[in-house]
């Protein structure tokens, strides 16, 4: 830390700067997780709130002891023994992994293409990629329902072109989920990739060409390795939220196999089983904690690099 910075740590205003967001996040981001963890160790009950035990401090120390005795890992045993939950975790991982791979395949050429345009055009093209992200997520999924539904445009066009004889049920299928996920997350893949590709020194490519490297080889030997931080950021930025995705599979997917976000939603809203929903959330978080830590390290490293 450089001495004499404007916000030296001793001044009261500096403390306030840090304290306000810190306290907010502790209260509304971290503390709720503690409660989820606690409820995942409880049992369902026909009560309000619908779980047991409830911490009752009005009876003093005794209340806390009864409360602790009431906690158990029973819900986790239930999740582990019922294949429905395991299958929806696997399905979520499969959808997330495959669609992240598709996103990388589609997003890389777009990001690379934008980075090759002249500096005058780049901001406009980047804005065009970001703009759909500003319009509602729900609207973008709804747009695809318009296209994919039974008497929708896709079937109409394909049949007029003579490719199809009868309409295909695109909706309520895994294909529709992949289309929706790739469509919604494309900006999240393109932007971090573009950010690394744009910074790259073009003279490196010229040097490779001067040394007799073909364009293709130069790409694999020079550009691809140098763009790895962007690839990592894009992959993590897509993969992690897709695993927990709810809206896309709910509106576009079928009802035969659910993703974990849907299962959690169902346990909570339809079955009113709060402990199971909480245990599913804890398990989902355990699954994602490693990629999330990678993502955070990446972010912090980028921050330190520029500082």
């Amino acid at each position: 830390m450089i001495a004499g910075t404007p916000y030296g740590q001793k001044s009261w205003s500096a403390r306030l700067v840090l304290l306000a967001p810190y306290v907010w996040l502790l209260a509304f981001f971290l503390a709720p997780f503690a409660i989820v963890l606690k409820i995942s160790l409880s049992q369902t009950a026909l009560a309000q709130p619908p779980y047991l035990p409830v911490l009752d401090l009005s009876v003093g120390w005794h209340g806390a002891v009864t409360f602790l005795r009431g906690l158990s890992l029973e819900t986790y045993g239930l999740i582990a023994s019922d294949p429905i939950y395991l299958l929806s975790y696997l399905k979520s991982l499969e959808v997330a992994a495959l669609s992240t791979a598709i996103l990388l395949l589609i997003g890389y050429p777009i990001a690379y293409g934008i980075a090759r345009f002249s500096r005058r055009w780049q901001p406009l093209l980047v804005m065009l990629v970001i703009l759909p992200f500003w319009t509602s997520f729900l609207i973008r999924i709804y747009a695809w329902i318009n296209i994919l539904q039974h008497d929708g445009l896709l079937n109409d066009v394909l049949m007029k072109l003579g490719i199809l004889n009868a309409p295909v049920a695109w909706l309520a299928s895994d294909t529709a989920i992949y289309i929706g996920v790739v469509y919604s997350y494309l900006p999240f893949m393109v932007l971090p990739l573009y950010a690394t590709l744009e910074k790259m020194d073009r003279s490196l490519l010229e040097a490779a060409a001067d040394l007799g490297c073909t364009r293709m080889r130069a790409f694999w030997l020079v550009i691809a390795p140098l763009s790895l931080p962007g690839v990592a950021a894009g992959v993590l930025l897509c993969f992690i939220p897709i695993v927990g995705e709810f809206v896309i599979p709910d509106l576009l997917g079928g009802s035969d196999s659910l993703m974990i976000g849907q299962t959690l939603w169902m346990e909570f809203f339809s079955n009113k089983d709060w402990p199971t929903a909480s245990a599913l959330a804890v398990a989902l978080l355990c699954l994602l904690i490693v990629p999330m830590m990678f993502y955070e390290r990446l972010q912090n490293r980028e921050l330190e690099k520029v500082q």
Binding site: P6, L30, D151, I240
Partner: protein, 271 residues
């Protein structure tokens, strides 16, 4: 030697943009369709917009959503800017790792987890759910986006201006208000707009944390979409898209104008 984009580069960008915009364009066009059927084009018409203005439930939800978005965007812009200043300018402090973790985690945290955990806390605290709980939840969600945007602006600008002010005896708070704040205002404005649109957009977290009397627009649209495609929904969506597009384009034009003005001022100062 400076090669421009190859054919392959141009094609990739063009196809990518077509993929991004075609579905939205189709949705907009069909909101003006006179026919109720999606595949049948019955000529141009504004009848779905007229029906929309008579849909009291939809208008009420839009109003709820706008109020929540304005409130939570303002709160998260204040808190997010403070967090960005703390992260960029305070170096190492006790609890920094936890702090930056709490800033970056919500960016990728699945919404079902955030929504569920906030709801369970509101229940545990015995808080009546509705307008305020959704606003708090959205502030928490959008805070980190503001932080990331403001942070990148804070990193990018010239520190010597602040140092000069401090050397001339300007107290830290005044330095921040007179030097730092005006310089990062564009980023703060963009952060506010992003927070506003994210809040306006959110379905999952709002569904968990809402209560009676606070049905937001996405919650209402979602329940309608589940019943199938309706031209009125296309009309709502078109209005939202038009608002967002106008806002974004206006903001980028403003940013460009202020950049040009700044450049001129610098040039004038050098002469």
């Amino acid at each position: 030697m400076r090669r421009g984009p190859s054919f392959f580069n141009v094609a990739a960008v063009a196809l990518g943009l077509a993929f991004l915009y075609l579905p939205i364009a189709i949705l907009v066009i069909y909101s003006f369709n006179a026919s109720r059927l999606v595949t049948v084009w019955g000529g141009w018409s504004l009848q779905w917009y007229r029906e929309l203005f008579h849909d009291a439930g939809m208008i009420e939800s839009a109003w709820v959503s706008i109020r929540i978005a304005a409130l939570s965007a303002t709160a998260s812009t204040v808190l997010g800017t403070l967090a960005a200043v703390a992260l960029v300018r305070m170096g190492r402090f006790r609890g920094r790792l936890l702090f930056s973790g709490m800033i970056y985690a919500p960016l990728v945290m699945p919404e079902v987890i955030t929504g569920l955990s906030l709801l369970l806390m509101f229940v545990a605290l015995n808080v009546d759910r509705g307008f305020w709980t959704v606003a708090i939840a959205h502030t928490t969600l959008t805070l980190c986006f503001v932080t990331v945007i403001v942070q990148s602006r804070l990193i990018g600008f010239d520190r010597s201006l602040e140092e000069a002010a401090m050397d001339l005896g300007c107290p830290p708070l005044r330095t921040f208000l007179t030097i730092t704040l005006p310089l990062i205002v564009p980023a703060i404005a963009v952060g506010w707009m992003l927070a506003f649109s994210l809040s306006l957009d959110d379905l999952v977290i709002a569904s968990f944390t809402t209560g009676p009397g606070a049905t937001t627009l996405p919650i209402r649209i979602y329940s309608e979409i589940r019943l199938g495609v309706r031209p009125e929904i296309n009309a709502v969506c078109t209005i939202m898209i038009a608002l967002v597009a106008t806002g974004t384009i206006a903001a980028s034009l403003l940013a460009k104008r202020s950049a040009v003005r700044r450049e001129r001022a610098v040039l004038a100062a050098q002469v």
